[in-house]
C-alpha cells in the first residue's frame, strides 16, 4: 500500500513538543510508525467526540480511491490508540462499572479517550468504518479487536445492539462473535460478573433471583460447546456460573473439561484457580493446593491466586515455601491483571494479538 502523507512537523503550541494531535498521530500511523503514533498521541483531556471527529476529517482529506484504506487505517488507529490510552492504572486492576443501560447521546461529549467508558463508543466508530460487503482479511481482525475492546470496557449494551450486528453481517462464520453475543446477553441479564477482583468475594450468598438467571445463562452458553475453537472457554464459563450458584460438583466437572479442552494457558490456569476455590469450599485443602499449584505453574505472579495457595501451604506447615511464593507476587510491579479480570474481560485478552495482525497487514 502506498504511504500517506507524513504528519505535520509543527505541533500546536498548547501541547508538549513530543506529543501529537489526532490528525498528526493517525498520519504517522499510516506510515507504519505504529508505536510512535499511539504513544505520542496527546490524550490529555481528549474527548471521544474530538477524537472521532478528527479521524473523520482525516479520512475525508483523502481522494475517493484512498477512502477504503484511510478508513481501515483510522479504524485500526482508533482501536490501537484507545487500547493504549486505557492500559494504565486503574483500568488494568479494576473492573470498571458497567455502562449498559445507561448509554446517553451525550456520552461522546463526556468521556475521555483514556477512560474505559469510551471503549464502546470507539469500538462502534471503528466497525462503522468497515466496508459493508466484501471485507478484506484485515477487516476481520479489526472487527475482532473492536469486540474485544468493547468487552474490555464491559460495553454489553452497545456490544449486543450496535457492534455485533454489524460485524456478524460481515463475518457470519466467526465463532468468537457467537461467544461475544452470549456474553453480552448473559452479562446484561446477570449484571457485572463481579464487582471485586477476587473470587473470594463470591463467598456471600447469591442475590435473590440470581440463581435462576444463572441457569438461563448456562442454557445460553450450551450450544457453543459444539464449536471446537470455543468449547474449552465455554466449559470454563459454564463452570463459573455453576460456581456462582454453588453447584460445586457441576462446576468442578466443567473446570476439569475446560482444562482438557482449552488451548490457551490462561484459560487452563483460570479453570484451576476456580477449581481450587471450590475445593476450599468443600473442605478439601489438599485438592485445592493441587489445583492452585497447577494454575500457579502457568501464572506464577497473580496476587490473588498466590495468596490463597500460600495461605494453604502455610497452614499445612510449609511456611518457607509459602512465603517464597507470596513475597514476589505481592511486590511485583506493574501488577499483572488478575485471572478473574482476564476472564471477565473475555476477548480483551486477545486484542494485542489481533492488533499485531492488523499492524502486519497494514504495513
Amino acid at each position: 500500500m502506498a504511504a500517506l502523507s507524513p504528519p505535520s512537523a509543527q505541533a500546536p503550541a498548547s501541547r508538549e513538543s513530543n506529543t501529537l494531535s489526532v490528525a498528526e498521530a493517525v498520519a504517522l500511523y499510516a506510515t507504519g510508525e505504529f508505536d510512535a503514533a499511539v504513544q505520542r498521541l496527546d490524550t490529555r483531556n481528549l474527548l471521544v467526540r474530538q477524537f472521532t471527529r478528527a479521524l473523520d476529517t482525516w479520512i475525508a482529506e483523502g481522494n475517493a480511491g484512498s477512502l477504503p484504506r484511510r478508513k481501515r487505517i483510522a479504524a485500526a488507529f482508533a482501536l490501537d490508540a484507545g487500547w493504549h490510552a486505557t492500559r494504565g492504572f486503574p483500568n488494568l486492576t479494576r473492573s470498571n462499572f458497567d455502562p449498559w443501560g445507561r448509554v446517553t447521546p451525550s456520552d461522546v461529549e463526556k468521556w475521555r479517550l483514556n477512560s474505559h467508558w469510551s471503549n464502546p463508543i470507539v469500538a462502534l466508530w471503528a466497525v462503522e468504518q468497515l466496508p459493508i460487503t466484501q471485507p478484506q482479511a484485515v477487516d476481520r481482525f479489526i472487527a475482532l479487536a473492536a469486540v474485544g475492546y468493547a468487552e474490555d470496557g464491559h460495553a454489553w449494551n452497545r456490544l449486543q445492539h450496535a457492534v455485533l450486528p454489524r460485524v456478524r453481517r460481515l463475518f457470519s462464520d466467526e465463532p468468537r462473535f457467537r461467544m461475544a453475543d452470549a456474553l453480552a446477553r448473559t452479562n446484561a441479564d446477570l449484571g457485572p460478573l463481579r464487582y471485586h477482583s477476587n473470587v473470594a468475594a463470591l463467598r456471600d450468598e447469591p442475590q435473590p433471583g440470581a440463581t435462576g438467571k444463572m441457569a438461563r445463562a448456562i442454557t445460553t452458553f450450551m450450544p457453543l460447546l459444539d464449536e471446537p475453537t470455543l468449547s474449552g472457554e465455554v466449559e470454563l464459563r459454564i463452570g463459573y456460573l455453576e460456581l456462582r450458584r454453588r453447584q460445586w460438583a457441576a462446576s468442578i466437572h466443567r473446570f476439569d473439561a475446560a482444562r482438557l479442552k482449552a488451548t490457551e494457558p490462561v484459560l487452563r490456569a483460570t479453570a484451576d484457580y476456580f477449581a481450587g476455590w471450590v475445593h476450599e469450599q468443600l473442605a478439601q485443602p489438599e485438592m485445592a493446593v493441587s489445583a492452585y499449584r497447577r494454575a500457579h505453574a502457568i501464572t506464577p505472579m497473580m496476587r490473588n491466586l498466590t495468596t490463597r495457595l500460600s495461605a494453604l501451604l502455610f497452614l499445612r506447615g510449609e511456611r518457607n515455601d509459602a512465603y517464597a511464593l507470596l513475597d514476589p507476587a505481592l511486590n511485583l510491579r506493574p501488577v499483572p491483571t488478575d485471572l478473574l479480570l482476564v476472564f471477565e474481560r473475555a476477548d480483551a485478552r486477545l486484542v494485542p494479538e489481533w492488533m499485531a495482525s492488523i499492524r502486519k497487514a497494514l504495513r
Binding site: G88, R203, N304, E318, R319, N320, Y323, L326, D327, L330
Partner: protein, 336 residues
C-alpha cells in the same frame, strides 16, 4: 500471679516434628538446636513496666496441661525483626496516624544495630519491603515506590456507590487479612524474634483474598507476636477499612465487627495486645520495649507433640502481681 496463655512453635511441620527453618542461610539457631524444642517468647510486666531478672525457676509452663521442664530462659540480646503494618486508604485518621509516626521517627529510635525493620503497606493491595534500620517512616518517597502510581497519602476515589445509600468506596477498601497473613508469614529466622505492630482499625474488606476467620489458624503457626494498634473501633462510626461513609451502614458495621473479633482472636493467639490509642509513638515504643525485654522459654516435650492444637500456659511463681503474656498455643500437623 497472672496466668496467660502462650505458645511457641517454630516450623512445626505436618509430620509433627519441629524442623529448623530452611531459609536462614548463615544464621545459627541459638535456641533451637534440637528438632523437638519448643520456644516461647514471654512478656512479663508489672503495670506498664517490664519485669527483669527472672530465671527459669521463676516460671511454670504447661503444654496441654502437662507441666514442662524449662531448659532455658533468655532475656535476649537476640536481634529483633520488627514489622510495621500500615493500612492505607482511610481518608483522614489513617494518614494522621502515619504522619505522627513519621514526625517522631519513632521506629528508628526503637531499633538497634542488628535489628531489622520491615514495612508492610495495605492499601489498594499489599506490599512490603525491608528498610534500613536507620530509616524512619519519614522516608515517604521510598514508601511511595512500593505503589507505583499510588500516592502514599493518595486516597483517590474509584467507582461510585456499592448500591448502599450513603456509602462511597475509595477503591474496594483495605485487604487487612492479606496484609496480616503476609506479616505473620515472614520467616524471620531461628536466631531472631519477630514482632508485628499493625496500625489499623481492624476492618478487613472485600478487597481481601483471605477471610479474617483464617487468621487465628495462621497465627497459630507463626512465630511472630502481633500487636494491633487501633485508632478506631467498631461502633465509633466514620470511615473504616478504607471505606468512607457519610452515615451508618449496618451491613458494613457488621462486617467491621466480625473482622474486629477475628483480629482480637488472632492477636491473642500470638501473645500480643490490642491497643486503642491516639498516640502511635507511645504505642510503638511500648510494644518494642516490652518485646525486647521479654523472655524466651525453651522446653523439650518428653514425647513428640501430637497433631492438633497445643495450649500453653505460663505462670510466674514469684510473689507479686504480674502481667504474663505469651502465645496461647501452637498447631502441630496439617490443619484446615
Amino acid at each position: 500471679m497472672k496466668v496467660a496463655a502462650l505458645l511457641i512453635t517454630l516450623a512445626i511441620a505436618s509430620t509433627g516434628v519441629v524442623s529448623p527453618p530452611r531459609d536462614a542461610p548463615g544464621q545459627t539457631p541459638q535456641f533451637r538446636g534440637r528438632t523437638d524444642v519448643v520456644s516461647v517468647p514471654v512478656s512479663v510486666t508489672r503495670g506498664r513496666n517490664p519485669v527483669t531478672g527472672l530465671t527459669a525457676a521463676d516460671f511454670e509452663l504447661e503444654d496441654n496441661g502437662v507441666r514442662q521442664v524449662i531448659d532455658a530462659v533468655s532475656l535476649e540480646q537476640i536481634p529483633i525483626d520488627a514489622t510495621l503494618l500500615l493500612t492505607q486508604f482511610s481518608p483522614e485518621r489513617d494518614r494522621e496516624f502515619v504522619r505522627t509516626l513519621e514526625g517522631a521517627g519513632a521506629t528508628r529510635a526503637q531499633l538497634r544495630s542488628g535489628d531489622r525493620l520491615r514495612l508492610v503497606l495495605a492499601d489498594d493491595g499489599v506490599t512490603g519491603r525491608l528498610l534500613d534500620v536507620n530509616a524512619s517512616l519519614a522516608i515517604v518517597p521510598e514508601v511511595r515506590d512500593l505503589q507505583t502510581g499510588v500516592g502514599f497519602a493518595g486516597g483517590f476515589r474509584l467507582g461510585g456507590t456499592d448500591g448502599t445509600r450513603g456509602l462511597q468506596t475509595y477503591g474496594f477498601g483495605v485487604p487487612l487479612a492479606d496484609a496480616l497473613f503476609y506479616a505473620l508469614a515472614w520467616p524471620s529466622g531461628a536466631d531472631r524474634r519477630h514482632v508485628i505492630a499493625a496500625f489499623t482499625d481492624g476492618h478487613n474488606t472485600i478487597a481481601s483474598v483471605l477471610d479474617m476467620e483464617m487468621l487465628p489458624r495462621i497465627a497459630a503457626r507463626s512465630d511472630a507476636v502481633l500487636h494491633a494498634v487501633l485508632w478506631a473501633a467498631p461502633g465509633e462510626g466514620g470511615s473504616s477499612g478504607g471505606l468512607w461513609r457519610s452515615g451508618p451502614v449496618p451491613r458494613i458495621d457488621r462486617a467491621w465487627e466480625a473482622s474486629f473479633r477475628a483480629l482480637d482472636e488472632t492477636v491473642q493467639r500470638t501473645g500480643g495486645t490490642l491497643q486503642r490509642t491516639h498516640n502511635a509513638v507511645e504505642a510503638l515504643t511500648e510494644i518494642i520495649t516490652n518485646f525486647r525485654s521479654s523472655y524466651v522459654l525453651r522446653y523439650t516435650p518428653p514425647e513428640a507433640p501430637k497433631p492438633g492444637w497445643h495450649e500453653i500456659k505460663v505462670i510466674v511463681k514469684r510473689p507479686g502481681s504480674f502481667n504474663v503474656r505469651a502465645r496461647r498455643g501452637y498447631e502441630v500437623g496439617s490443619s484446615r
